[in-house]
């Protein structure tokens, strides 16, 4: 046994104080994006439960790993009874539940949704600090930057791309999708239209803008009229690229996989 531990034990026995293992906190996550960051940074036994969205086949990029962990319903009562050290929530997590947990004396950390790569880096570092793994987080950020630089090397042309989702909605410059798109080497048409968070592009306007590539979302099961527009004959001549998928939703290093996939459509990168 190391001398420092002998002294700690001796002191504890002498003072009669209960020994608190200064181990990493046990956490509950209530938000899809914090779920994924937690899964990527924490030790498995730190995770008490994740939100139900972590298993969602359409929105979660880590749906398979999420099955290994328990699931919470977001109810303050249920979460309180699992006695977490730390609760992670998103900006739009149900306010009533968050307030209740705070008033019960629990530590709740709110994470804003990631809208840029800087946000991703900040959130990774903050998560690392909270979970007691600052070194892991720092390594993750370094790997992220390295791989991002690799992905962005060798890009000379910048084709014009439009993100086009159900009901004709697109993402503007203040969105994660925009940064994924531009990091992959494309220009976002929404920028030409001056859109910030995004907005609706009428079909006619899209055709007039004549993008080089149109990127749609992956269709949901079931039918909706909003998604019918994506199958409109007028869009047929456009090059329709890979769909955006779960990896576009949250700001974690998985966005790099999304960028790599997207680069299959990029003239400079597709052969790599």
């Amino acid at each position: 046994m190391r001398p420092s531990k002998v002294i700690t034990l001796a002191l504890a026995l002498i003072t009669g104080a209960s020994v608190v293992e200064a181990g990493p906190p046990r956490v509950v996550s209530m938000n899809l994006c914090t779920d994924q960051l937690v899964m990527q940074i924490a030790d498995p036994d730190q995770i008490i439960s994740l939100s139900a969205m972590a298993r969602d086949e359409h929105s979660s990029a880590m749906r398979d790993e999420a099955r290994k962990y328990a699931q919470n319903t977001g109810s303050a009562e249920q979460i309180y009874l699992t006695k977490p050290d730390l609760i992670l929530a998103g900006l739009y997590t149900e306010k009533a539940s968050v307030n209740m947990l705070q008033s019960l004396g629990l530590q709740v950390e709110i994470f804003d949704p990631e809208e840029s790569f800087d946000n991703i880096r900040d959130n990774i570092r903050r998560m690392g600090d909270l979970l007691g793994h600052p070194d892991r987080a720092a390594r993750m950020v370094a790997d992220f930057d390295q791989r991002l630089a690799d992905l962005q090397s060798g890009i000379t042309t910048r084709p014009r791309a439009a993100l086009y989702g159900a009901n004709g909605y697109t993402s503007g410059v203040q969105s994660l999708s925009h940064h994924i798109l531009t990091a992959a080497g494309f220009d976002n048409i929404a920028q030409e239209l001056g859109l910030t968070w995004g907005g609706r592009i009428p079909l006619e306007r899209l055709i007039v803008l004549n993008p080089d590539v149109v990127i749609t979302g992956r269709p949901f099961r079931g039918h909706s009229r909003g998604e019918e527009i994506l199958r409109h004959p007028a869009l047929a001549p456009f090059k329709m690229a890979a769909h955006t998928d779960a990896r576009w939703v949250c700001g974690t290093p998985l966005v790099l996989d999304a960028i790599q996939d997207l680069q299959r459509e990029h003239p400079d990168k597709r052969t790599q």
Binding site: N167, G222, E227, H232
Partner: protein, 326 residues
């Protein structure tokens, strides 16, 4: 009024042209027309794949609703009757939504309009059965409210049960109607049923005239009432069902157009039916132009404009005919 027909035809042509030429692309008229013919380039695609089907559907919707409204009013001898108010359009929406959400619509090409048609047929049957021989206003409108409410609730339920998160918000489209982002596919889908419906309704001219004097007199004048009733039901179900399946429920056209045109045709039902077909097309095209001018980048529903015009008129008509309410 001899000038009525040339007037209606000229206005229809003008509104059709305006509908084709108005949109976000904002190209000069000559360029747009050239692009319409050739289909070249982005403008050509816009003209042929977006503007043309929209205008054609506008005509089909307007003709169907105008014809059906005039025919139902003529048959029931009630100026308040119209496919939207008496629940036919709502029922057609229900059939369309159910077939789309259950995947039946994908089974074969015509499954969607047939489903809308089927539920519209059922609704017309129920309404005619409840309205009774004289089509008394009170019974008719109450029956219409009941059918509309039921159809609306079931449509909303079907959409909420969908695994698709966008489906929940579609209820507005189905209840208020829209011609936005429709394609030639939708035109071809609805056209056969519309044509069948129009032909059937148009054939009812003599019957509607004779019915002005009551069912007894009409029967004595050689009109087969049972056959006429059936033709009306099928004709209305076909035309209203088909257009509702592709553009949602658009109300009040069948009320407003016959009401406006009736004085100009001497109130003769057989003539009013034709005039309402043209008038309905003009009204829908004009309303569709309006939604594109008022909110060019938005998605204002056609039914909003129609309701803003039609609902006050409906109230006015109720007020005028309140002495006859039974």
């Amino acid at each position: 009024m001899k000038l009525l027909w040339p007037f209606l035809i000229v206005v229809l042509i003008l509104t059709f042209a305006a509908s084709i030429l108005i949109g976000q692309a904002n190209a000069p008229i000559a360029d747009s027309l050239a692009a319409l013919m050739t289909g070249d380039g982005p403008l050509g695609r816009i003209m042929q794949d977006i503007r043309l089907p929209r205008a054609l559907l506008g005509v089909m919707v307007g003709v169907s609703l105008g014809l059906s409204g005039a025919a139902i009013q003529g048959y029931l001898r009630n100026p308040l009757a119209e496919p939207g108010i008496i629940g036919i359009s709502g029922a057609a929406s229900l059939g369309a939504v159910v077939s789309l959400q259950t995947g039946f619509a994908a089974v074969f090409w015509l499954a969607l309009p047939l489903s809308a048609l089927g539920s519209a047929f059922l609704a017309v049957l129920i309404i005619l059965a409840l309205a009774g021989p004289r089509g008394g206003s009170l019974t008719l409108i109450l029956a219409g409210i009941a059918v509309s409410a039921l159809a609306g609730a079931l449509t909303s339920l079907a959409l909420n049960l969908s695994p698709n998160p966008y489906a929940t918000y579609e209820i507005v489209f189905w209840m208020m109607g829209s011609l936005a982002d429709r394609s030639m596919d939708h035109v071809w889908l609805a056209l056969p049923f519309c044509l069948v419906g129009w032909v059937m309704i148009a054939s009812l001219g003599p019957a509607l005239n004779a019915l002005s004097l009551g069912e007894d007199t009409a029967a004595s004048m050689g009109i087969n009432l049972t056959r006429s009733r059936l033709i009306l039901i099928i004709g209305v179900a076909c035309s209203v069902g088909a257009v509702t399946a592709v553009s949602g429920a658009i109300g009040f056209v069948g009320l407003v157009v016959p009401h406006i045109l009736r004085p100009f045709v001497g109130a003769r039902p057989s003539v009013l039916v034709w005039a309402s077909a043209l008038g309905g097309a003009i009204m829908i095209l004009a309303a569709d132009i309006l939604v594109r001018i008022v909110l060019p980048d938005g998605d204002l529903k056609l039914g909003v404009v129609m309701a803003l015009i039609g609902a006050p008129l409906f109230l006015h008509l109720i007020y005028k005919t309140r002495g006859d309410l039974q």
